[in-house]
Symmetry: C2
């Protein structure tokens, strides 16, 4: 199956780390995409196979023989369930819902990351500094919530922990380390998990320009 | 458990329809929230219990005794699995992934809906007409993709169909009926499912202003 990726996207990184943690990278063909910085407000040029694969025209997109999944939520659910024996997220019951709860906060951070990035890429006269501040504040509130959850983190680097680690990594990469002051225990946890081979192999880098 | 809602949000409607289809509305306390139109770019005033419930400060948010879920993806997954016996989305296997694939396209439409709405609520000098056009085009591409899927829709009004129906309803309500020309079979399907009590009881209305 084909997975459309970029090296900058935290949504892509979440999927790639999941694949590496499960040791199933040989099941995938990774297809790089390029993005002009105009993506924040305009449709940009893409390879025809990518446009054909997903009407959303976003990464990650996973194309199997039977269907296409066009967001990291469904892709991670599929990889964990069908290819991973539910090792990174329980199939049902309290262990699943508890992990979903932490994961939903981490996903909110990543959504804010992308929205803030898109805002920064807008032309100056269309940019809202209020919006940038709103996203920053949301990120820091979410980090503060996750800080309280650290003592309950389980032994498995599961889908929630993967998503949280990716959120921490992207925040530091694009926006600096203010979050570490808000969430010192989380930062200490992150410094350990960032050493995992799956995280090291997926460190963010700028998206190739179209 | 408490579910924070508004009458306008398609993400909330998706959760409410899911609850009504499962006939479990007596399990929830529905808490209305109010939103100044400034929400598009700024943090707005909220009740302290809502701010305490979710660091994301978005609806829907589901607060149980054990945890809080702060997006409709995790809320629907929980409701379907824990309270609905997986009746609206299979627990695993091809039936789950196929439904996730359609659902991910419908979710992309709803994301575009919210982004387009937020853009329209920005002050004129910070508004990007390019971005509005990009979201409109994405919506119509996704409707065209779903149009091809209609013959494969199953007999159950499942989580994908619920999400698709909500996407159709919101599109018509906010942005008109251009999509019907792009997806006539889907529109005919929608006109039938829109008659379901769960859809009738959740027709969108303007969000109360703070």
């Amino acid at each position: 199956m084909r997975l459309y990726v970029t090296p900058a996207s935290p949504w892509v990184r979440r999927v790639r780390v999941t694949i590496l943690e499960l040791g199933i990278e040989d099941r995938f063909e990774f297809v790089q995409t390029k993005w002009s910085h105009k993506w924040a407000t305009r449709a940009v040029e893409h390879r025809p196979d990518f446009l054909e694969a997903t009407p959303v025209v976003r990464i990650p997109a996973l194309v199997t023989a039977a269907f296409t999944l066009t967001d990291s939520h469904s892709i991670c659910d599929y990889i964990n369930g069908e290819l991973g024996g539910f090792r990174l997220l329980a199939q049902e019951g309290a262990p699943r819902w508890r992990v979903l709860a932490d994961m939903s906060v981490a996903c909110a951070i990543i959504e804010a990351h992308i929205s803030r990035r898109a805002e920064l890429l807008r032309s100056e006269h269309e940019r809202s500094n209020d919006f940038i501040g709103k996203m920053r504040d949301r990120e820091l509130r979410c980090f503060a919530t996750l800080e309280k959850r650290v003592p309950q983190f389980g032994a498995t680097f599961d889908l929630a922990q993967i998503t949280i680690a990716v959120a921490c990594g992207y925040e530091s990469w694009r926006y600096g380390n203010e979050w570490r002051g808000v969430a010192p225990k989380l930062a200490a946890w992150y410094d350990v998990v960032a050493q995992r081979p799956s995280m090291g192999a997926t460190e963010p880098a700028e998206t190739p320009q179209a």
